[in-house]
Amino acid sequence: MAEKTVSIETSMLSRNERLATELRERFRAHQVYVVNVLSSPGSGKTSTILATNERLRDRYRCAVIEGDIASDVDAVTMKEAGLPAVQINTGGLCHLEGNMISQAVDALDAGVGLDAIDVIFIENVGNLVCPVDFDLGENLAIMILSVPEGDDKPVKYPGIFQHAGALLLNKVDVAPAFDFDMSAYNAVLDDLNPTAPRFSVSATKGDGMDAWCAWLSEQIEAARA
């Protein structure tokens, strides 16, 4: 018997990373800008995508990939709003992975066609932990926190707040009913993710949505240049 060490040196996520690279190339080839939307369940992902589409639709053709553990209620909502939508059911998995997005993108391509799409919103599974490690080939990941969840979430879930390229604070219309400490929230983020812009919005009432959409449009244009 002899003992030896065998070097492997590969990422545990190498399969997903390969798929993410392929997706990124595919999105780029068709000039599609992709936004991965992250939040807890019920923070307002669907409402924010709908409100954003309302403001972008004259300029960009948007589509949605809906990730849920089960059901297709969000995809139905999107289609009712006139957005091409593909539903992914993860069957219990707590995040989306590259292979699921590849299939959903195939479906969009077979439907309206990728060249007829400018922006894809991926509504990830509501979860503040697992989606962080899984690159979906997106241009931008955004994190939506809603006021009722409390100002301490960045302290409890630093990974997702650090990972996001933009931070939306939603449901600001109900702020008076909650003692959300804005300065405590901002103080943590100033150290945790000082470069991501922060937007205070109400997806359903419209507050702050224009500023968010103006910034997003700039990012889409910059990616095309």
Binding site: M1, K4, T5, V6, I8, C130, Q162, L192, P194
Partner: protein, 121 residues
């Protein structure tokens, strides 16, 4: 919690590498994981205890994890610094323009195996 999914990929890679190397058994599996990756040590160990039984090569293999502290490089002043999960700003100049050098790793480093004496090298 996706540790089981991650570790199932690790188990496949380990068994494949061990076979290629002519192993009779795997003694240990080495991982390198950044403190900023979203995995829990106990969940990884638990997943490994379940998965290692799936192949006779790995059934006694220990899982050894090296955790890596986050390090960043300040783009403004060139300072390289270690930090925790919460403080990403450059401690020297306060700049927000920093690049994460390490801390998000989820890597399979390698395996220690036992081979028959006449195994090819």
């Amino acid at each position: 919690m996706h540790e089981l999914g991650l570790m199932s990929g690790v188990a496949d890679t380990v068994v494949e590498s061990a076979r290629q190397a002519g192993a009779e058994r795997v003694i240990s599996v080495h991982l390198r994981i950044g403190d900023m990756a979203e995995v829990m040590d106990e969940a990884l160990q638990f997943a490994w205890e379940v998965l290692r039984d799936e192949d006779p090569l790995t059934k006694d293999a220990e899982l050894e994890v090296d955790y890596v502290h986050p390090r960043s490089l300040c783009v403004s002043c060139g300072n390289e610094f270690e930090h925790d999960r919460f403080h990403l700003r450059c401690p020297a100049c306060g700049s927000a323009e920093t690049m994460l050098l390490s801390g998000r790793e989820l890597d399979i480093v390698g395996i220690d195996i036992e081979t028959p004496d006449d195994a090819p090298n």
